[in-house]
């Protein structure tokens, strides 16, 4: 648990000293508008909207990771569990001021869930009542892309998707993150 505590401390410190704050409604409304516009542009094809959000997040993640590293000055994580703590306690903390719970590890330590008790992106949101959005749209899907993009830049290929969302009437908002592999393109040929 020490890596989690350490991560909490780093996140707390950065949040207090290094992070510029903006009005939460500005973020919420901006993001909401983007999603609503996408839904309109894609004519209610929510699978496509999910895909676009993920792609947008991916591009954000690839850039945001540098900011994360430059600010936090943390070293490489020794294992995926440590990575999960960093994501939750430092990453989400400094960018959204939340710290989703890391839980539901598989026994091989390659998959975990993030439970979002709060989600600033989804404040005020009520999904369209067209009978499909409730089943098809993952409103905060951009976050999956952010994680994928950010971790890819630090040599981790992951897959992330939401499995439940309070917006859909579920009890919790849960994202499932699975490590696919460590990317080793820079690996010297003689390594094990």
């Amino acid at each position: 648990m020490s890596s989690a505590t350490k991560a909490s401390r780093i996140g707390e410190e950065l949040w207090k000293t290094r992070v510029d704050k903006v009005n939460a409604e500005l973020v919420t409304l901006t993001y909401g508008t983007i999603v609503a516009q996408l839904c309109q542009d894609y004519d209610g094809n929510y699978h496509e909207v999910n895909k676009q959000l993920e792609k947008m997040g991916y591009n954000i993640g690839m850039r945001l990771i540098e900011d994360f590293l430059a600010k936090s000055n943390v070293g490489r994580c020794a294992n995926f569990r440590e990575t999960a703590d960093m994501i939750s306690k430092v990453g989400f903390r400094i960018f959204l001021n939340i710290a989703p719970t890391v839980t539901n590890w598989t026994s091989d330590n390659n998959q975990f869930s993030l439970i979002f008790d709060e989600n600033p992106l989804a404040d005020f949101v009520e999904l369209p009542d067209d009978g499909r959005a409730q089943d098809e749209l993952w409103f905060s899907n951009i976050l999956c892309g952010v994680l994928r993009g950010a971790l890819e830049m630090v040599q981790m290929q992951i897959e992330a998707h939401f499995v439940s969302d309070v917006l859909r009437g579920d009890d919790t908002t849960e994202m499932r993150v699975s490590l696919v592999r460590y990317i080793e393109d820079e690996m010297p040929p003689d390594e094990e």
Binding site: L29, T33, C39, F124, E126
Partner: protein, 186 residues
């Protein structure tokens, strides 16, 4: 006391309406207007007819809550109004079960649990009851609390990215919250 609440857009398009009865003094929260069930549109006529008064009253002072602004004696319907800064109007029609002069003496005839299907009086009047007197300070205050709470929820609802300005409010969450506010204050 029975209530009919409606939200009108700045261009007088109805965005939301709901009818409910009092929950105070043993009320069961079910609206029982004096019109026959076939004439519920009367509520809408009466409430819309007060819009002229709202337009006059809105310039009288800077408050958002305009208090009781209009009465329609034939149905003993009382209208209270609340303005949002963006120009939406919240109108609440309240109608006592009997004429206000009678209702003071009609207290205690039945308890709320026995009211199902009785169609008549739904309030057990007492001096401090909201239902007793539509123009009393207590009622004004209760309506103000109700309006304020609805306003807070209205703001949250129209902030939903999927709500377009001027669109009917279909959110069941909002309806639930208005019902809860009605139960709490009226």
């Amino acid at each position: 006391m029975s209530y009919y609440f409606t939200i009108l857009s700045p261009t007088d398009v109805p965005l939301f309406n709901i009818a409910f009865g009092t929950s105070k003094s043993g009320g069961d929260g079910i609206a029982r207007f004096r019109f026959p069930d076939t004439a519920q549109y009367m509520n809408q006529f009466i409430i819309h007819s007060s819009l002229d008064v709202v337009e006059e009253a809105q310039w009288m002072n800077g408050n958002m809550y305009l208090k009781h602004i209009d009465t329609y004696p034939p149905a003993s319907a009382y209208i209270s109004a609340f303005l949002t800064p963006s120009g939406a109007r919240f109108l609440l029609l309240h109608q006592p079960p009997q004429l206000p002069s009678n209702s003071a003496g009609a207290g205690g005839s039945m308890s709320g649990s026995l009211l199902l299907g009785s169609g008549g009086s739904s309030s057990r009047a007492s001096a401090s009851s909201v239902a007793a007197n539509p123009t009393s300070p207590q009622t004004e205050e209760a309506v103000r609390q109700f309006m304020t709470e609805v306003y807070e929820n209205y703001v949250k609802t129209v902030m939903s990215p999927f709500y377009r300005q001027g669109m009917e409010i279909k959110s069941s969450v909002f309806r639930g919250r208005v019902t809860a506010a009605g139960r709490k204050w009226l």
